[in-house]
Symmetry: C2
């Protein structure tokens, strides 16, 4: 298969494929002549993965390059790959060293120890979590921590489902890719489900007509 056919099969324009190769997302084709290359099914699969991570997962090209490099490196342990995949919602690197930040960090530490989670507070996810909680506190929603355990329960359930799926369904040689897909696209799935459930819960709480009267400020 040559580039034109690869493009037709995946719907990705030829110049874009070239761009992905340049950026290291897609390995170059195998050269049959000094300037003719052929692409196989692996390229097609990889290309679809790239587009899914980009379009559905909302990842950036550079992040995808990192993840795929980790994916292709058999030396790299799975959690490093996942780290590369998951440390993307960095919520910007804005340092707020105020009271809210300190409180939020304490809340996160407490949560982690209370649930016995085997993780460290230096985990980027923990940092993101405390940043999000601190931002809520600064907006006057510090009381949100009261429902944090409900959130954590749900997160555990999702994580369990995710791991179960990967463990049950995916062959060992594809496990790493399966985890990446599950983590990144699973987030999009859950986000959509949450919004659907939100509509439903709101309807049940306030009746089908929607929420009650508004008397905004």
């Amino acid at each position: 298969m040559r580039m034109g056919e690869l493009s037709r099969k995946t719907g990705v324009p030829v110049p874009t494929i070239k761009y992905y190769v340049r950026e290291g997302l897609l390995p170059p084709g195998e050269l049959s002549s000094p300037n003719q290359a052929t692409y196989g099914e692996a390229h097609e699969r990889r290309l679809r993965l790239i587009r899914a991570l980009l379009d559905v997962g909302g990842m950036k090209v550079a992040e995808i390059a990192d993840v795929l490099a980790a994916l292709d490196d058999p030396e790299r342990p799975l959690h490093k790959v996942l780290g590369a995949a998951a440390d993307r919602l960095g919520s910007a690197n804005i340092e707020h060293d105020d009271a809210e930040a300190t409180t939020a960090q304490a809340v996160v530490a407490d949560l982690v120890s209370r649930r016995g989670w085997r993780t460290h507070e230096s985990n980027p996810a923990a940092i993101d979590l405390s940043k999000a909680l601190a931002a809520m506190a600064r907006l006057g929603h510090g009381a949100f921590v009261e429902v944090l355990d409900d959130y954590a329960d749900a997160a555990e359930q999702v994580a369990r489902a995710d791991l179960t799926y990967v463990d049950r369904r995916v062959a060992v040689e594809d496990m790493v890719e399966g985890v990446v897909v599950g983590t990144v696209l699973g987030e999009a799935v859950f986000s959509a489900l949450r919004r659907l459930a939100h509509v439903d819960a709101s309807a049940k709480l306030y009746g089908t007509e929607g929420p009650p009267e508004r008397k905004t400020s």
Copy 2:
């Protein structure tokens, strides 16, 4: 308060504040002279909200403008505001009219009716959901639908917690803003929690040393 002080209090540079005013995110200050304006606490609060939605929620400036316009319009029913807030993860508008897309739409319709969710399949969230599922199917992870109900359970739990919090904690006049904050920042919170739980579940399944041997392709 004048612009410089607003900038100092919130950490947002003055030209950026001007930019937000231009883009309609922040109402202009009240003019005391033809070219002097004063800003109040509402501006400060609004500015913090903008930064939270931008930095933590990952929303775009134009989306925030929509949401805030809806927020400021007392005529607009809450679900419209939320729609403006939630319809952002549009996962790009790429139309794949293939078998996977059709299957995914059927799966979503089935899920919605099975759970009795009071929503319609034209809901953007439902469309996003089927797009995400279709993308997974194209990547060979069509079996992911087997854990979809676990995801949906968790989503319902989160939605319930969210609504409970808003209903219990937030005064009626701030309800709309509370829902927006809960929806957008809550997503960041849950995402981080999911990643934490993922690490823990992985550790419990595969032992503390991490996942098993890799034998990638």
